[in-house]
């Protein structure tokens, strides 16, 4: 009911997906609704697209189908509790979301984290990143009409999920990071299984290139599609692989290293193409860098505590705290305004997907509908991350 009025107010009178042809209005323009239930939006994103033939004139995203007002919820949750809600934002990098929140609380408490916890956190982050990029790879290939890669991607992703399950007790929303460290110590099998995974993954990653990257149809579908210039990328606040695909050095792990990222060697992948293919390459190469980080750390987990001693009830001093981490999709900022109580006074999540989505209209104008799938695929939108 609400939703329909919104669409009418925005100048369109099409209610059902696809809509009836009576709505096809002036100037040969055709307005179609992609979503909220559509195979390519990977979630409840609703795009109102104005078409001229097959060419996109305008895209208007309608958000809110999965808005849970996490920011408001967090205002009544304690500093220990609110972290768990954030796993549900960008559920594909749940670990990294938790990490950002934990970092922010620790910043407020001025808590020193045991070295063991730091390394475990980074290991988990990087494994999450690989899992997230793998899902993206499969889903993007599926958007472009190739089904098979999806299953190949899931084969490796399952291994990571199994590792996560063993140590964190969950496969998707791990809730493993707590202020002061991690919730439990790693499982005794963890190191062995991760090493097995490294071996498996190093064998399989080349398969990805064989299957998709080198494919001439795939290259034709992505090269020169959805070009985002460097200036626009900065102006739109695009971060993560989207920003780096446009040549913006924006890897938080390099710029503002947290935990042990300044001690491991890895490359920040920057492509200057700005098109979908560049964004694709960034993610594919990032997987290799992530595995490189994991390789360096897996044998060097220091002994000691996995959690710092904290009080039962956390109270942040009055003030404002901001922490930023690099999720699989870009820069996640957590902004906590504290009034000195046990709950945040105001909390804001600067989510990468939200900013990346705002560039969608700009970069897809003038492309075909088929290009939109390539663009959306390489923007790698996770809708709960956008809606929060």
């Amino acid at each position: 009911m609400y939703r329909e009025t919104q669409i009418i107010n925005s100048g369109h009178t099409i209610l059902s997906a696809g809509g009836d042809l009576g709505g096809a209005a002036d100037g040969g323009e055709l307005v179609i609704n992609v979503g909220p239930q559509h195979p390519a939006t990977h979630g409840v994103l609703h795009l109102v697209i104005t078409l001229q033939g097959e060419t996109i004139q305008k895209i208007e995203p309608h958000l809110g189908y999965i808005h849970r007002s996490i920011e408001k919820m967090c205002e009544s949750l304690s500093y220990r509790q609110f972290i768990y809600v954030t796993s549900r934002m960008d559920y594909l990098s749940a670990h990294i979301n938790n990490h950002a929140c934990a970092l922010c609380v620790e910043k407020g408490l001025q808590l020193e984290i045991p070295p063991r916890a730091r390394v475990i956190r980074v290991l988990m982050d990087e494994l999450t990143r690989i899992a997230s990029h793998e899902l993206w790879w499969g889903a993007m290939a599926m958007d472009l009409g190739a089904f098979t890669p999806f299953f190949y991607a899931f084969r490796e992703r399952e291994t990571i999920n199994d590792i996560m399950e063993e140590t964190c007790g969950a496969r998707l929303t791990m809730n493993y990071m707590v202020p002061g460290g991690v919730m439990y110590d790693i499982h005794p099998n963890f190191q062995k299984r991760v090493k097995d995974f490294i071996q498996l993954f190093n064998n399989k990653i080349d398969e990805y290139d064989d299957l998709v990257t080198g494919n001439i149809i795939f290259q034709n579908r992505t090269k020169g599609v959805g070009v985002l210039t460097k200036e626009d990328a900065i102006s739109f606040g695009c971060t993560g692989p989207v920003g780096r695909g446009s040549g913006v050095p924006c890897d938080i792990r390099k710029l503002y290293p947290y935990e042990v990222y300044d001690k491991v060697s890895f490359d920040e992948i920057i492509e200057t193409g700005g098109d979908s293919y560049a964004r694709y390459l960034v993610r594919i190469k990032e997987m290799r860098q992530s595995i490189r980080i994991v390789e360096q750390l897996i044998d060097n987990i220091p002994d000691g505590e996995f959690q710092a001693k904290t009080k039962a009830v956390l109270k942040l001093p009055k003030g404002e705290f901001y922490s930023r981490v690099e999720t699989a999709r870009g820069e996640l900022g957590v902004y906590i305004v504290s009034e000195g109580g046990t709950t945040p006074y105001r909390i804001k999540f600067r989510s990468p997907g939200f900013s990346n989505l705002s560039a969608l209209d700009h970069i897809s104008r003038g492309s075909k509908i088929g290009d939109l799938m390539a663009i959306m695929g390489t923007l790698d939108l996770v809708i709960p991350d956008i809606d929060r």
Binding site: Y2, G64, S69, I234, E320, Y322, Y335, R350
Partner: protein, 169 residues
């Protein structure tokens, strides 16, 4: 640039600016009327703040400080208080970061848009408009973003109460 240098430059351009250095980054507080030229200066001049990475708003209604700190140019009305717009800027060239805060009257929150300077602001401002009710003047497309157009109230304000969908624990 260090905090001191930033402070010096900003004071040169904006003598009225109020600084707060307690946090991680330099906090600058400007008046709503001075905001737009200040933003333009930040974006284009020597500070080159081309990257707006966070734009949000804080409702101070429940705090004692918020009730007394009404903007000087308008007398506090009944149930007054302030909203603070918070902009986090960074420069991709110099890598310095500042936080700009603008206080708004809670009963009539209006501020100039910066979506023409930083395009990411267009969506962020729509979100703030939706959830806090801040009106951004000259915004190209100021509509509710996540909520339905006929929704009443602004959920992230402290006095928002929804008896049906309870948020409080």
């Amino acid at each position: 640039m260090t905090k001191e240098e930033l402070k010096e430059h900003i004071t040169n351009f904006q003598p009225n600016a109020v600084f707060d250095e307690t946090g991680e980054w330099l906090n600058v507080q400007v008046e709503a009327t001075e905001w737009k030229p200040f933003a333009q200066w930040l974006r284009n001049d020597l500070l080159n703040m081309d990257y707006l990475f966070c734009l949000t708003c804080i409702d101070w209604a429940q705090t004692a400080a918020g009730k007394t700190q009404a903007p000087s140019n308008s007398p506090p009305a009944g149930g007054g208080g302030v909203l603070t717009m918070v902009y986090h800027f960074s420069s991709t060239v110099f890598r310095h970061t500042i936080v700009v805060k603008v206080k708004l009257d809670r009963n009539n929150p209006e501020i100039e848009t910066v979506s023409d300077l930083w395009r990411t602001a267009e969506f962020h401002e729509r979100e703030v408009f939706d959830l806090f009710g801040v009106r951004f003047l000259h915004h190209p497309d100021l509509r509710r973003l996540v909520l339905a157009d006929d929704f009443e109230g602004h959920p992230l304000r402290k006095d928002f109460d929804d008896p049906v969908n309870m948020i409080k624990l």
